[in-house]
Amino acid sequence: MTAQSLFYWSLVVTAAGLVLIGLWGVLTRKNILRIALAFTLADTGVNLILVWSGFLPNRSAPIVDASVTSMVDPLPQALVLTSIVIGVAVAALFVVVGVLASRKSGSADVRRMKELRW
């Protein structure tokens, strides 16, 4: 395995690892804020994967310049820009709702938020 491919694959392994760890946290954590954090981790991982999907080693950033000959794909980066902003918007709302939900149920534990059931 060349250094280049090592670099290339390590990125996606990190990213996928983040997603999986995030999902694990989402499934197993009880504190509503902790779950929100887990989502953030997974989101970060997904964003990395997205950028990675348009990434080619040994190229330059997609800013056209006289000196630049080959670039990486700008599209995934554009998507990730959007995705990050959406992520923070969702997180802001999630936290507010989580805070209020835990106020109502008296704790931040999602297991106690089971009033709606059956």
Binding site: Q4, S5, Y8, W9, V12, V13, A16, V19, L20, I21, L23, W24, L27, T28, G54, L56, P57, A61, P62, I63, V64, D65, M71, V72, D73, P74, L75, Q77, A78, L79, L81, T82, I84, V85, I86, A89, V90, A92, L93, V96, V97, L100, R103
Partner: protein, 229 residues
């Protein structure tokens, strides 16, 4: 307890899928057709040197409009929820260091933010990070003051006006060129200049204003609802 293990099993199984699917890929050497087209035509089409901005604002402007709506909705929702629920506001008085910093820094930060916003088509940056930077300045100001911010008409007006402008720019493209949010309703100009790239700088500005005002609105209502402990 069971949940932890079930979660682990699920995640491990997902990991197996990831590994198995990654093994089908190899390091790419060429851009895909779309990416290739962007790099070839991007500057001609949009006049933006920063192709990411070209994609974000010009090619996929609709995504960005949607993204603005996402942020808009989230901030409106947060403000709405927090104003409906009185949460016993009790902002903690800020320390002198914070007060001092809050007095000095914001100006510089805002300037920096505006720079990022306005050069989005030339260098990395653009409306979103720039707007966030401006919002952080507002956050600092808010932390420095001991009063609870009132319902800011200014923020709402900026937010609303920026949104409207974005929408109307879209309709402008529709009317003149038959394509919603078409970049070329203003002249593309010469790439690399500040005033070039059609409506991209304008939209960047609009986005910056909107992001800044919305995040600030969120912070303000957080603050009203009790401040960051």
């Amino acid at each position: 307890m069971i949940r932890t293990y079930v979660g682990l099993i699920i995640v491990l199984a997902l990991g197996a899928i990831v590994v198995s699917s990654l093994s089908n890929y190899s390091v790419p050497l060429e851009l895909g057709s779309t990416g290739h087209n962007y790099t070839q035509r991007g500057v001609d089409d949009t006049g933006s040197v920063n192709l990411v901005t070209a994609v974000v604002v010009a090619y996929r402007g609709l995504d960005t409009l949607g993204e603005v709506v996402v942020l808009f909705s989230a901030s409106t929702a947060v403000v709405l929820i927090l104003t409906l629920i009185p949460m016993g506001a009790n902002p903690t008085p800020s320390s002198s260091i914070v007060s001092f910093t809050a007095g000095v820094l914001p100006g510089a930060i805002v300037l920096f933010g505006i720079y990022i916003i306005s050069h989005g088509h030339l260098s990395p940056g653009g409306g979103f990070p720039g707007g966030a930077v401006v919002a952080s300045a507002f956050l600092l100001i808010m932390l420095g003051s001991n009063t609870i911010p009132g319902q800011s008409r200014l923020l709402a007006s900026i937010e609303s006006l920026a949104g409207l402008t974005f929408g109307l720019l879209g309709f402008w493209g529709m009317m003149t060129l038959g394509q919603f949010l078409n970049n070329k309703v203003l002249p593309v100009g010469s790439p690399g200049k500040l005033l070039s790239a059609g409506i991209i700088p304008l939209i960047s500005l609009v986005i910056g204003a909107k992001v800044a005002s919305e995040l600030s609105g969120v912070f303000a209502s957080y603050r009203k609802a009790g401040g960051e402990k």
